[in-house]
């Protein structure tokens, strides 16, 4: 496979006015869609799909792909500004991003997020170019036991996300797992925890839960405190990350790029997983871990880079094997089929212009996005200056529209409000929502793969330890778990010792 020749021809095809235009349209809509909570890239892509029928296949994929990675850029905006994640991969950004905004550092947060996304996105495209075929084989090696082990690792890592008590985080993870069970069991078809509500048959729904736990709960919490208080420091310190910020962020960005890309290859929650894996890694590596949860810029730089890198990684199985790892990729696959292109291992040989066109367009798209997002930072920061009493109802309206639009059901709004109340109560008792959401999203993957593994092994648990990848992941999870356990144990022990010494 002649990489440079292919890439050159790809660029040649992309640098046509029509293609560039559609690329821009795609990334622009993607950014919009990412910023508006509730309306996700899948919805936008599926609506715009018919309008691509008159276009050549490469151009339409370029536009649709643009929506996808554009949304990854935009999703961080609401996370940072109003603590409402645009989608699963932006949840972790809320933790430190919002804190930074509260301290008047929204500009640098948005800035480092844009730059990190750019670096992560570009890195993943380069890696995609060179590694697409070798890596495709790796993705396929992950079967149910390997996925289960990966999810165990993810659950263990989730407990690191908290800046408070670890036991409380564990409760949140468990609660998230239970919530994920609600709905129809995919393996047996039996409804679980549904209590006769047809709306719940498909699960509680990620959008209402996220918007409730983050959006509505935030509003309720703010209403609870003194009236008319402007929540953010009015003097915004600077608009862009300063040298200090860059020095702290450069390491997380590189690590997150690699992590994000490789995890993005795997089907399922690759992007979301990479964000909190990056967060945890940075927290452990940092010289001031206590800052995490209170506005550490590494907590924004890492996850934001990771999710864009994961978006690139998701193209690996699609382009190399014709197997889409996520619902969004499945949509791209469908788009290709409608245009008469059958994606599969033969895509490169039969339609090299599509492969290279998409790759080349991703470079250009990322540059466009950087150009789009940086100037907007000034605008976003001004939005924060709008008095809260005017801003809050508008934010809520967006949440209402967003949760309704997903299923056109008023029940989604009701669910969202219920979770808003739940989130409010949880906050009062110092439980954090981030581990809950992530466990909620990943729980079903964990369970399905656990059960499938047992079906495959005819009931033997040995399957988890005989497969090498699975074994390694489980060992890592166990080690991480024990290390958390030890540090908590030691902390409580010193507390008790201090107590008894002061009393004795």
């Amino acid at each position: 496979m002649d990489i440079f020749g292919g890439l050159l021809s790809g660029f040649h095809n992309v640098f046509q006015p029509q293609v560039l235009f559609y690329c821009f349209v795609g990334v622009f809509i993607g950014t919009l869609v990412g910023v508006l909570p509730g309306i996700g890239p899948v919805g936008a892509m599926s609506i715009l799909l018919p309008s691509t029928f008159g276009l050549p296949p490469a151009t339409s994929i370029i536009m649709l792909a643009g929506i996808y990675y554009g949304a990854q850029y935009g999703g961080s905006t609401t996370s940072i500004l109003v603590n409402i994640p645009g989608e699963a991969s932006s949840v972790v950004t809320c933790i430190d991003g919002y804190q930074m905004a509260k301290r008047g550092r929204a500009g640098p947060a948005l800035g480092i997020s844009a730059f990190g996304s750019f670096i992560g996105g570009t890195f993943s495209i380069i890696a995609l170019m060179f590694l697409v075929y070798p890596l495709a084989g790796v993705a396929v090696k992950f079967g149910p036991p390997e996925f289960f082990a990966l999810m165990c690792l993810a659950m263990t890592v989730l407990t690191y996300l908290t800046s408070g008590s670890v036991i409380n985080a564990v409760f949140m993870v468990l609660l998230g797992l239970i919530l994920g069970v609600v709905g129809m069991d995919p393996i047996s078809g039996m409804p679980r925890f549904v209590f006769g509500c047809t709306t719940l048959l498909d699960g509680v729904g990620m959008v209402p839960v996220v918007m409730g736990l983050f959006g509505i709960a935030e509003v309720l919490t703010n209403l609870d405190e003194s009236q008319g208080k402007v929540m953010f420091q009015t003097r915004v310190k600077d608009l862009f990350p300063n040298l200090q910020d860059w020095k702290r962020s450069i390491g997380p960005i590189w690590r997150a790029s690699v992590m994000g890309f490789f995890l993005g290859i795997l089907p399922g929650g690759g992007a979301a997983m990479s964000t909190f894996l990056s967060y945890t890694t940075e927290k452990r590596l940092s010289k001031h871990p206590e800052e995490f949860g209170h506005g550490a810029i590494e907590g924004v730089a890492g996850p934001e880079t990771a999710n864009n890198a994961a978006a690139g990684g998701a193209f690996v199985p699609l382009l190399a094997l014709g197997i889409p790892p996520t619902a969004i990729m499945a949509l791209l696959l469908g788009a290709l089929v409608i245009h008469g292109v059958t994606p599969g291992p033969l895509l490169l040989s039969q339609h090299p212009e599509i492969f290279w066109g998409v790759v080349a367009s991703m470079y250009i798209g990322n540059v466009m996005l950087l150009g789009l997002n940086l100037p907007l930072i000034g605008m976003w920061v001004k939005v924060l200056k709008i008095p809260y009493r005017l801003l809050m109802p508008l934010i809520l309206l967006c949440c209402l529209i967003g949760s309704y639009a997903e299923n056109e059901s008023g029940m989604s709004i009701v669910i969202m409000v219920i979770f808003g109340v739940v989130g409010y109560i949880l906050r009062k008792f110092h439980f954090e929502s981030a581990p809950l959401i992530l466990a909620f999203i990943l729980g079903p993957i964990m369970e399905t793969n656990f059960r499938n593994s047992l079906i495959m092994s005819d009931g033997s648990f040995a399957i988890f330890v005989t497969k090498p990848i699975s074994l390694i992941l489980l060992i890592i999870s166990a080690l991480l778990f024990m290390s958390t356990g030890f540090s908590t144990y030691r902390k409580t022990k010193t507390k008790v010792i201090d107590e008894s010494e002061s009393e004795g």
């Binding site: 899948v42 892509m45 599926s46 799909l49 018919p50 993705a139 396929v140 090696k141 992950f142 079967g143 149910p144 709905g183 129809m184 995919p186 393996i187 047996s188 078809g189 409804p191 047809t198 048959l201 498909d202 699960g203 089907p267 199985p317 094997l321 014709g322 197997i323 889409p324 790892p325 619902a327 499945a330 949509l331 791209l332 696959l333 469908g334 788009a335 089929v337 409608i338 008469g340 059958t342 994606p343 599969g344 291992p345 033969l346 299923n407 399905t448 499938n452 079906i455 495959m456 005819d458």
Partner: protein, 327 residues
């Protein structure tokens, strides 16, 4: 003071205008069919084979129904229940339609809140091709070899799209008729099945012909068996199929229907049925359908509702009983 009340007046007028427009809409709608866009709902997420199928149908329906705009929307979830329930409860005016396969499974399982009579099949448009495939390094080159292997090694693992899907029942039916003693491993769609086969996690998989063919052409999968006769679906004509290998066994065809809510006026149903009939004779439609490895097969709605569906329901019910899915 005067400026404020003027603004107030303008607002009230604008508000009343909106309210008025909003309420007037249903009145506008009572015109000749079709006077509004028709929406075909798909019970799976966008990008999947149902989505692609529906979009092809939409395009050709517009061609044969002058003045119509047909769009595709999605209501995934619950294995189709969400979508079926939605359309069953929709206004029976012909503007809300459903593209689906056999929608009676949730009824048999008891998870449905609708009855078979709540949905009226306009017509069957096509049949979905299903195949059995194995990985590239699998030791079986023909289906007969696999059958012999399975009989000698009960408990071979077979990947499918989920308990309750049409492909699952069809393969389970074969499993019993041929005595293959396969154990099913549920997956979330064709992509996962392909992954599982490529990664050698399961022995064999049942999936839609379109996805399988794409892989087979690249040498990544080997298609051993097609449920329907292969040629009409754009597959290798030498593939064995149900009728040749198991001539006496009943089979469950996976029909693809366009469905409307019950009580849709008869003239609307007739218009739609005639459109579909014309569409299925269009050579371009036939070739487009074959490209995604389905076969055009028009069956009027009445026949489907009165003959095909009850027969299939019986077969599926007996399989479900045996599997313990229903008592």
């Amino acid at each position: 003071m005067r400026k404020k009340s003027l603004i107030g007046l303008v607002l009230v007028v604008a508000f009343a205008l909106c309210l008025g427009l909003d309420m007037a809409k249903p009145v506008w709608a009572q015109q000749k069919f079709p006077s509004r866009p028709i929406t075909i709902f798909v019970t799976f997420a966008p990008g999947g084979i149902s989505d692609i199928t529906a979009r092809i149908w939409a395009r050709f329906m517009e061609k044969y129904l002058p003045g119509a705009t047909v769009v595709v929307d999605h209501k995934p979830g619950g294995g189709g229940v969400v979508g079926y329930t939605f359309v069953a409860n929709a206004r029976p005016d012909g503007y809300t339609l459903l593209n689906s396969g056999d929608f009676f499974t949730p009824i048999l399982e008891g998870t449905a809140t609708y009855k078979v009579e709540d949905l009226a099949v306009i017509a069957q448009v096509a049949l979905n091709g299903c195949v059995l495939a194995v990985g590239p390094d699998a030791p079986w080159k023909t289906f007969q070899e696999f059958v012999d292997y399975a009989k000698k090694n009960p408990g071979a693992k077979w990947a499918h799209q989920g308990v309750g899907t049409s492909v699952y029942f069809r393969t389970q039916n074969l499993n019993k008729q041929a005595g293959l003693k396969l154990i099913g491993v549920p997956m979330k769609g064709d992509s996962e099945i392909i992954s599982a086969l490529l990664g050698k996690h399961v022995a064999i998989g049942s999936l839609s012909a379109g996805m399988a063919k794409a892989q087979a052409d690249a040498g990544k999968l080997r298609i051993l068996f097609s449920f329907d006769q292969a040629k009409g679906f754009g597959l290798d004509p030498s593939l064995p199929y149900m009728a040749t290998m198991f001539p006496n066994a009943p089979d469950i065809e996976v029909g693809l229907y366009l469905v409307a809510p019950k009580n849709t006026p008869k003239d609307v149903m007739d218009i739609l049925e005639k459109t579909l009939e014309k569409m299925t004779k269009d050579p371009e439609f036939i070739s487009e359908t074959m490209r995604i490895n389905q076969m055009v097969s028009f069956v009027p709605g009445k026949v489907v509702m009165e003959q095909r569906i009850p027969k299939k329901m019986e077969l599926v019910r007996s399989i479900m009983k045996e599997e313990g899915l229903i008592k």
